[in-house]
Amino acid sequence: MFRFYIALWASKLMMAVYKILGDTKNDLPGLLASKICPNFLKLIKKPALTITVTGTNGKTTTSTLINDFLRSAGLTTSFNDWGANMQAGYSVNLIRAVNLLNKPVVDCSILEADELTLDELMPWIKPDYLLVTNICKDSLRRNGHPENIYNHIEHTLRQLGDHTTAILNANDPISSELGKDSKRVYFGMADTMRNPFENLGKDIAICPRCGGKLIYTYRHYRHIGKFRCEKCDFQTPHSKYFGEFVDFENRTMTISGHEYPLISDTIFHAFNVLSAIAVLRELGYGENEISSFLATQKVTDIRESCVEYNGIEYYTFAAKSQNVSAASTVFEYMAKEPSDKDVVLLMDEVQDKNHPTETLSWLYETDYEFLNDPKIKRVIVGGHMYLNHKLRLLLAGLPEDRIVAVEDEADIPLYVDQSGIKKVYVLYETDCVSKAVNMRDSIVRYVKEGRI
């Protein structure tokens, strides 16, 4: 334990220094703790309640909702809310949750958790609840394929045993199969009549039990929906928390006769809200309490922001590039959103410094075909992948006069044409919020200056 206390005190000291410097969202103290004491996460005391949120899409929004609700309900929480969702981030989260004597000083820790490393670290943390939002196609480079992610989460649940309640998406034929030996609670949703487009790439092509064909009564998006296997008894499990009716226009969802506010008009955010409600209801919070809280919430600015100038709305909109499922879902939203618009793609990966030339595979799994919609007047793309995007857009059927591909991203604002449009969307890789905001603001500035 000597090493542990040295690690705890050193990292707390480092955190104090960072705090003085105004940097409270830095995971270096967590790295230091694990460096000094490799089993730091095992030895640090956990608060009375620990909730882990994992899954391909929706982790940040859902864990933020859970955390913010618990705080509004008077609990003290620790939360790795700055995107550090692996060992260092968990360490900082839990260091904040204890005092110098390793005694918990908060009521609850919310851990947003990376799926791939879950089975290495969660057995040390032993969360009370593990929410899996969904398993979809994600970054090829890091995660490989959905079956790989399933294996890591299942391996985690097997190690956690009945200590942990798994909260699972009944509409996901991949993640709903998790935790056969765990306590399981499901959330799901009735048909929202959104009639999702068919996707080019399938997150799951066949029944995971027998290899039979999967039949859908309805789909919400991608592979998420009400399903059954044509050969065996594999089907959508019963949902304890079931969204019976979703009114996207008025942004409400009804669960067991109670109407909850939604934070946006998108199906994926409806699922984020539903999964957060499932966790909060499991914790014993009342419908009215949760509703009152949700009424005050909106999608975080990190995911979406808008400025209006001269009757045109200019948006930044997170899309996640190499995450095929997220990018395709956003492209579908662009096609269905009723305004005439220009769409700017800022979706090249910038984090893979060791691999400056990206793989092409995600372009050919992502549904660029959805962008071939008459309401999308132009697709403007820049950066080192511009020729690959252009080719992909041509293969998706977009006429050449609706594609602008420029090597230098800085030139993009020159090509936004305001005539006949109501909105401009800058779709961006989630790690590039500032870049997206700068691009959007440049476009608006060019308009104000009369340069376009």
Binding site: L140, G144, E147, R158, L360, L363, Y364, L387, L391, L395
Partner: protein
């Protein structure tokens, strides 16, 4: 009409591989793609296919695919010897070797899976390690070939019948510059995803092998993208 057989698309299309055939088909109206699903008898064994394509699959499906193809092992050997075109990308290449060994995610058990033993190499999986990602530039008959690999495993063997001589990046494992397998008209590479899109000169080569004109769809654009990528990889690998 040239028949291209897509083997087990429900298994072997996990990284956009189907677009290889979508693109090929759109390049020439005399190409017809047929899908052979799990449980179907492969068309190539009765000589009904001019080309066979198989793409990347999950580790679990590798084992199932070997089970499915094992009864046709001799037919595959005969088809290769008779000059039928095979294009095999990603870890589909591993099933043609002698065995796949290594570890798995769900337990500390070691796996040992017998391969089709059509070629003399074996694969080793490292499922508990970080995924290997890299790009390559190599040479095949004077063509500069580009590849992207993303994998948990490597192949080991002599690779006397290699497909590509790598000059930037790695081959079948980090210690060799030999990449893939080339026997008669069998072309196998660890590179995954839309290989024909990434390598338009090779796509032209395949069209010619099929006995067709080698015009490409959006030829100007695809060649520009290839050339740009080649220059970028030359600078960065």
């Amino acid at each position: 009409m040239k028949i291209v057989e897509f083997m087990y698309p429900e298994y072997t299309n996990i990284y956009g591989e189907s677009y290889n055939l979508e693109y090929l088909k759109r390049c020439n109206k005399d190409i017809r793609v047929i899908e052979t699903h799990v449980g179907d008898t492969p068309k190539f064994i009765t000589g009904e296919a001019d080309m066979v394509y198989m793409g990347c699959m999950t580790e679990d499906k590798q084992e199932k695919t070997i089970e499915l193809l094992m009864p046709y092992r001799n037919f595959i050997i005969n088809a290769i010897q008779s000059g039928i075109i095979f294009v095999v990308t990603g870890n589909a290449l591993e099933i043609f070797g002698t065995k796949i060994i290594g570890d798995e995610v769900m337990s500390d058990n070691k796996i040992d899976i017998r391969g089709l033993s059509i070629f003399d190499y074996q694969s080793v999986r490292h499922m508990k390690q970080m995924r290997h990602n890299s790009q390559y530039i190599g040479n095949f008959e004077g063509m500069l070939m580009l590849g992207h690999r993303s994998q948990y495993s490597y192949c080991y063997g002599e690779f006397n019948n290699y497909f590509i001589k790598i000059y930037r990046g790695i081959g079948m494992n980090p210690d060799t510059d030999r990449e893939g397998v080339h026997v008669k008209n069998f072309f196998g590479t660890y590179s995954l995803g839309p290989y024909f899109i990434m390598n338009p000169p090779f796509t032209k080569y395949i069209l010619r092998l099929l006995g067709l004109k080698d015009d490409l769809l959006f030829e100007k654009e695809i060649m520009e993208a290839y050339q740009y990528r080649l220059e970028e990889l030359r600078r960065t690998i």
